[in-house]
Symmetry: C2
Subunit: 332 residues, 2 copies
């Protein structure tokens, strides 16, 4: 199993990317890595070259580049070369902490979607109060979706939860404006009907965004526009609250500062809950190979976790099983 | 100025509703109240009958009732009678802490929308980090919206922010999946174009849900499905985090408990920020008269605040100004 890695993508590239690879090599002796980027800089952080091939590239795609233009013109960028390695069969999966837009565009244009999947989707494992977490998709690969897209997202999410996260018969829910079957937009109502008719996934009905963080479902399906808005609302609220708590403690006088010091440790466990380090990257599911986007500000640990995630995707042959599932469906 | 009040709607009705009226009478000697409900129970909490008329009703609409059926069949319910009082010109506005669905349905069916407004919307003033708050609409009166609906929401929200909250030239933003003009769903992209062409509101472009709580706009416009999902994501995240903080403190041992006690006061200011007591109710805007929904669990203080909000809506003649605005637009 070989992973193509965009070593130059992300805020702390190539340092954190390469250090993440160092870490992952210890845990996964069965993995091989192709590192795309500036060889001199990569070697600065690489512990040794076991399991690793370094491929020199001269260009970098950054967050300001228009995704489509960048994929078409920056042919010798670390990102395009990494994606192309999967396209050409030299690697089995790709990981980048660079531009999400460019990775989505490149993945779709070069690796391509599984034929019977109507639309690929961006998916992340988000934290829930019970510690189990849940997968949510689409988080913004699409800006408009049909009911059939949502059905495909449900299947992609269910396979991921089962194969990669090891959840048996994962509970799949549809994001809506009420838990009752009668609630929803015209699109979600139609999707509700289609999902209820499926026998091969465990569809538990509608869920409100108020309840997703408390562990009401293992997989939450939404159209890309709403999913993106909900994800960013969760992030914005959590970040604002943590800031307000800090400022309340700092401005609350001497006793509040002492109090703040005393609860620092318990609060840090809360930070862990919200941290992305343990959750891996966002998977672009529905393509012919695993494509994973790590956060731009990923630590080495977060990169190692994302590599572990890809390892489980490859070892379980999730993509092969999805292809089989969708082919079977098409024959009915 | 006379407000029709559904005295029997809400978790703590009629007690908190009536006590809220007691409170509001002190601040607004120019207001009169029609209290619809069980007269005996209402009088139990009513300080005196100055400014107040009590109208006996025999039925109550609760949260289990189907809104449309309830409005059509429970003709002698406190809610239908209160709405009808506005319809018949006996009162100028209506307030209820009962079923949102029934109030929306009854408002739309009986009070009716302003002719030129394509769709009414549900709007709340949400807290922001800078303390100023922002108005967001639609929060779920609609499950699907066109670009023209969003334009109407922008105008309704701008008038409310200016007339009721006293914000000069309020900054109106469109909720989207990116701040750039090119981002959005087909509907928001079209709305972006229409809003940019308006000269009578201060449209500042797209905003992401990550940034709304930090005070990036005074009015945030979204379709009802997305707005509802974002609102509930904010509520769910805030409530989960506060629970987790409490549990981290309680389970963090003796020193964490001491720390928790020391920061109790600063943290309560955070609670105030998230509290609905100060923000009034959700306004159903675009109808021919102010229709306001207070939280089901409203305290007497929250009811008094909602009455103050209605007072400002009536005193500024917001509805009259909106009618004028939309009539002018139609003549162009």
């Amino acid at each position: 199993m070989k992973i193509a890695i965009d070593a130059m993508g992300g805020d702390f590239a190539p340092e954190n990317i390469v250090k993440g690879v160092n870490e992952a090599k210890k845990n996964y002796p069965d993995l091989e890595f192709m590192l795309f980027g500036d060889g001199k800089k990569i070697r600065q952080y690489l512990q040794d070259e076991n399991q690793v091939e370094i491929i020199e590239t001269t260009e970098i795609i950054d967050f300001h580049d228009d995704p489509v233009t960048a994929i078409k013109t920056k042919k010798d960028s670390s990102l395009v070369r990494a994606i192309s390695a999967v396209k050409n069969g030299e690697a089995d999966a790709v990981l980048s902490a660079g531009s999400t837009g460019a990775l989505l565009t490149g993945g779709l244009m070069l690796i391509k979607r599984i034929k019977q999947v109507s639309r690929p989707a961006l998916m992340s494992t988000l934290p829930s109060a019970d510690g189990a977490g849940f997968d949510m998709l689409d988080l913004g690969a699409n800006t408009e979706n049909t009911a059939q897209h949502l059905v495909d997202f449900a299947i992609l999410g269910a396979y991921y939860a089962e194969q990669v996260r090891g959840i048996k018969n994962p509970r799949v829910a549809l994001l809506s404006n009420g838990a009752e079957e009668s609630k929803g937009s015209p699109v979600t109502k139609e999707a509700h009907g289609l999902l209820s008719a499926l026998t091969d996934i465990n569809f538990i009905g509608n869920i409100e965004s108020r309840d997703i963080l408390s562990g009401g479902a293992d997989v939450v399906v939404a159209d890309g526009f709403t999913g993106n808005a909900v994800l960013k609302a969760i992030e914005g609220t959590a970040s604002l609250l943590m800031k307000q708590i800090k400022s309340a403690i700092m401005n609350g006088g001497f006793s509040a500062k002492i109090g703040g010091a005393l609860i620092k440790k318990p609060l840090s466990s809360l930070k862990d809950l919200l941290s992305t380090d343990g959750a891996g990257g966002a998977a672009f599911v529905g393509l012919k190979a695993p494509v994973v986007k790590a956060h731009g500000n990923s630590s080495a640990q977060a990169i190692a976790t994302a590599i572990g995630q890809i390892h489980r995707m490859l070892a379980s042959d999730m993509t092969g099983k999805l292809v089989e599932h969708f082919e079977k469906r098409d024959q009915h």
